[in-house]
Each structure stands twice: as C-alpha cells, then as structure tokens.
Symmetry: C2
Subunit: 351 residues, 2 copies
C-alpha cells in the first residue's frame, strides 16, 4: 500500500497513553487503554484502533466521557453481575467487567456480566478473547455507538451494528475467534474507506430510496444493510435488548451518535459471558475436539477457485504476527490527523 | 390454499400422543411431546411439527431413540448445568433442561444449561419461550440434526443450520421472539416445499458447482447457504461449538443425518440460557422499555411499498391465534402420510 508509515507497537502505545494523560486520565489507566487500542490495530481491526483516538479525545474534551470513573459492580448474583461503568472509557469498563466475569465463572461455571454507563470499547473480540487464557470461552455482545441500521422494511435508523464476538480455545490450533457486526459491514469499515478515499462494494449500504450507496463520503445519506435481511435485523434487535435494554443502557432512539456528538454520555451497554470449560468436561479433551473440528474444516473439499478454507480469527492472528514484527501500518491521512492531535495536546508527534 | 384439511389442536395432540404410546412411550410423556409438537404447528413452524411424526416414529422403531430415558443432570455449578438426555425424545430432554435453567436462574440470576445425548426437539423458540412466564429471557442454541452447510468456500457439508432463538417479554406488547437458522432457509422449509411440490427461491441452496439450486426434490445434490456469507458460516460454527462440542455432543462430521438414518443415536446438543430480569432491574421497568422500543420500531418510517414493520415473533403469534380458532392446516400429502402411519401403528386415523 502506498503512503503508509509503519509504527512500532510500543511507540504507538506510548503515543496513545500520552494523549489520554494530556486530557486528565491517570497514567496507569491511560496505559491500559493504549495497550488495548494498539491490540485492536495489531489484529487488523483498523476501524477500532488508533483511528478512533482523535474522536475519543474530542469527546473527553467535550465532557462526554468521565476521566476519573468509579467503575463498580451495581448488582450481583451467583451467575451474573451488572457493572456500572460510571461513564468511563469503554476499554477500562469492559476490562473490569471481563475480569469480573472470569472470576465469577471460576465458581459458577458460567457467568454473565452486563454493563451500563460505558463507552465505545474497540473491537468486540478484545473482550471475548480475554477468558481464553483462563481456559474459558468468551462471548461478547454490545450496542453500537451510532444507529446506522433501520428495522427491516424501514428507513428510520433505530438500530446499530450491534456486534457479537465469541472466542473458543483450541489445543495445538489457534483459537476460533468470531467477531462480527450484524450488518454486512461495520460502520468503522465505512469510515476507514472514506479516510482512504476508496469506494464501498454494493451491498454494504443503501440510500433512503432503497438504492445502493457506494461512496463512503455520502454515508450520512443512507444506512447499513443487515446480514440475511430480516434475520440480521432480528439479531441486531435481540443483541441490543440483551446488551442495552436489560442493563438499563441506551438502545433504540436513545443511542447517541458518538461520531457527531462530543458532549453527551452514551450510556453504552455490553455483555460479557465467561464459560469455564472445566465445568462441562476436561479442558484437554475439549481442546482436542476443537483441534479436530478445525482440521476437518480446513482440510475439507473446496469450491472451484477457492485457495484455502479459513477459520474465524485466522486473519487477525496473521495480521498480529506481521504487525508485532513490522509495526502498525498508518495511512498518511491517519498519521497526519494523529500528529495534528499531538500538536493540539502539546505532546511529541508520532513520526 | 387448496386441498388442506384443518384439524383441531386437541384432535392432533391426541393423535400424536397415541402414535408415541403405540411405540412404547409412557402416556404422560407422549402427551408432553404431542403438546409441544402441536405448539410448533400452531405457531406456524410447519417444518418442525406433526410433519416430523413419521420420521420420529421410524427412528424409534429403528432403535435410534430411547423410549424410556433417564434424563438427568450430569454436572452442575451455581450458574450452569449439563443435562444428559439419555437419548430420549428431544422434546422431553429440552423441557427438562429448560425447567432446570429456570429453577437455577431464580437463584443465580442467569443459568446456562448445556444438553448432550438428546434428539431433534422441534423449533428453537419452543424452549426459548418457556422462561417468559417466569419473567425471564430465554436464549436457545442447538446443533442441527443433519449437515447441510459447508464451511465458507467449501463443499463438504460439515455444519448444520445451527439455530438461535431468543425470547424477550414485553408489558402490553407481545414478546419479541427471534427464531432463526444461520442458513438463509432451514432444511425443514426445504422439506416442506418438496412435500407441497413448490420450487425454492434462488439463494436458499447451491449445488456443488456453485450454481443456484431451486428444486427441493434435488436438495441432496447441493447445500444450504449461510446468511451473510462467511458471517453465517461463523455463527453456525460458533453455535455448534457451544451447543455441541462443549457439551460432549455431536458436531462436525459426527452429526448423524436423522433424515436418512433410522438406527443411530444422534447425540444432539443444545443450550438453554435463562436470564432472570429481576437480577438486572425491576421487571416492570424492563417490560415498559421493551414496549417503548417495539412501538418506536413499529411506528417508524417505511421504505416505499412496505405496508408494515414487523417485530420478530409477530407472525408466529398471528398464526397461533388463527390455528387455535380454526385448527392446524394439514396439506393433503401430509394428512395421507399421517393416516398411513396410523394404519401401521393400528391407531385411529386423523380425519
């Protein structure tokens, strides 16, 4: 790709942490956010990594996000908790909630932790993946931070891309990590296309007359399309009820468009479920079964012209390997916006 | 519809119960299965109701299903249980598992119950809907009982239509009940089309060369297509890992095609999660929020030519109202096959 600068992981982490410190977040917390954001970039989730930094900073400066949150458990039972994020950065809130879910699942076998009063937390798989090292399966749902999806047959954008991520450990194979929006494309991908000056394929978006919309700069004239038509609408609605309404978080018309609004708390809702495999069967047996399934799938017969059958998450692991070695690729417009941000915050530029 | 006989709910329940009694199932259990199967027909899930009776009976006669199962909890912790269905009829096993989930969720807030050594249990929403009357949300996943879906890019059918159903109660409005296969069409719909002599729309199935397949009588020459391409493949895989592999139930190449095989236990896996709303917030507040969301969606602006915006489950409630009043519609070929079954079992014919 032309006009791309590679920046090392530690360099980018330091830059991001300094930016958050410059707007009042404690060093230890700024470091955690930075590490998670760069993890997003490293795994190829470009729409959810450092790309979002200027927006996050703008919202903090606008008073929309609390830089000194008291993140806490508001309600609790053996198999669940409800976390109140006190309007802190979503990364901090979701890290807290996921740790809580893991801790509870050790006792309860399965723990479902709902979250309210949070914020955008980056890619879903960041949190679904955290239980893996505890020999647990992670499942994450969220209400997206801008409504770009109408109900099926409608044009009022009452729903977001409400994603699901599930991470399942294997033995010798890589974990299976699904991370998907319930729309054909996530809005972050639309924003990335716009910044790169690329067009979108047909099928990602539609305008209010029902015509395909392919210019990402015209994104605000249309809406995203759900996967499988009314089925994707149903999934977005249900995931929103579980991650938003059930937790007392925003859903439907109460969702704040965090791309356009720098002053209003979003009351973002999430769910993280941790499933302790040992409660169901010996962990090693389970992991070997996952290995066998992965190999059956990978080695199965292919359609003409298909070079390889992929497992969910494979692409992210490949991206991570490349980027830990060669650095995070930053397209010129993104690098320019980050260095402009650095000037505004009086911190050292990136490169 | 021409050549359709309407049979009352009690009449159909009695018929089905007698058929199961004739092959050795105790009267009380036969009655439960019959009631659940007719509930499927009443809600419009034709591919999963009495339509399946000849096949269920054939498999019982073939020794594939245990008519005197000892359904029991094999493993348990505060937030989960693993139910061993002892190869009983899926309806009995899933009713047991769902009752267990509801009971546990009253204490734990959320309870996740996995199931192994079960069988086909009818439509997913039957079980997701059971927690509703306890002011709970129900979430159900299952491994389908025949592999009709290849991994994305492949042609080996290693995956099934692995469905998800979620039921969420409202206050004055009807509950939101999503019940969907991860394929564009469920295989039961393909079978119904075949029996009715109708063609399928393009997009339901593809043949092994990648061409659209629209004749349901040629269904065994091709495979179902996942929703959203690789995303539906990912969902089918993940739901299968959770409902199958994690529970020690069949998944991947171990799945038995219960349409073709009358002698082998399927070791079907399911998951039912019961979520006690009260653990998260006052039930009435939650239900009023769901009402408000439903109304916002229903009353939102429509695309040109769309007469009404529907909520998931609306169609099933309308079908139920009609069928409780006017009886279950049985197309002539189905009625004939049921009366042939009656003759074989020496029980009274239906009509």
């Amino acid at each position: 790709m032309a006009d791309v600068t590679r920046v090392s992981v530690p360099q980018l982490e330091t830059f991001i942490a300094r930016a958050f410190e410059a707007v009042g977040i404690a060093k230890s917390e700024a470091t955690i956010i930075a590490e998670l954001m760069v993890r997003a970039d490293a795994q190829g989730s470009e729409g959810h990594g450092v790309f979002r930094l200027p927006q996050y900073i703008r919202r903090i400066k606008g008073g929309a996000v609390n830089v000194k949150p008291n993140i806490r458990v508001a309600r609790e039972a053996a198999g669940m908790a409800l976390v109140d994020g006190d309007n802190g950065m979503g990364h901090l809130v979701m890290r807290f909630a996921t740790q809580k879910a893991i801790e509870k699942a050790k006792q309860a076998g399965v723990a479902w932790v709902g979250v309210k009063r949070s914020n955008h937390a980056g890619p879903a798989s960041l949190y679904a993946g955290m239980p893996l090292e505890h020999d647990m399966i992670g499942l994450y749902l969220a209400v997206g931070n801008a409504n770009h999806l109408p109900p099926w047959g409608g044009i009022d954008m009452l729903l977001s891309t409400n994603p699901i991520a599930v991470a399942v450990p294997a033995d010798e194979e890589l974990p299976v990590v699904l991370d998907m929006a319930t729309t054909v494309a996530a809005y972050g991908k639309v924003k990335t296309k716009a910044q790169r000056g690329e067009m979108m394929p047909e099928g990602w978006m539609m305008d209010r007359e029902g015509r395909p919309l392919t210019d990402p700069k015209r994104a605000n004239e249309g809406f995203l399309l759900p996967i499988g038509g009314y089925k994707g609408y149903g999934l977005a609605l249900i995931f929103g009820l579980l991650a938003g309404t059930l937790n007392g978080a925003a859903m439907g018309k109460d969702v704040i468009d965090f791309n356009a609004d720098d002053t209003t708390p979003t009351n973002t809702g999430h769910v993280i479920v941790a499933i302790h495999i040992e409660a169901f069967q010996p962990v090693v047996e389970f992991k070997k079964s996952v290995d066998a399934l992965i190999r059956d799938i990978r080695n199965s017969e292919r359609l003409p012209g298909v070079d390889r059958i992929r497992l969910p998450g494979e692409g992210s692991y490949a991206a991570r390997e490349d980027r830990l070695e060669n650095g995070i690729p930053l397209p010129a417009p993104l690098l320019a916006s980050l260095n402009q941000l650095a000037a505004e915050l009086n911190i050292a530029p990136l490169a």
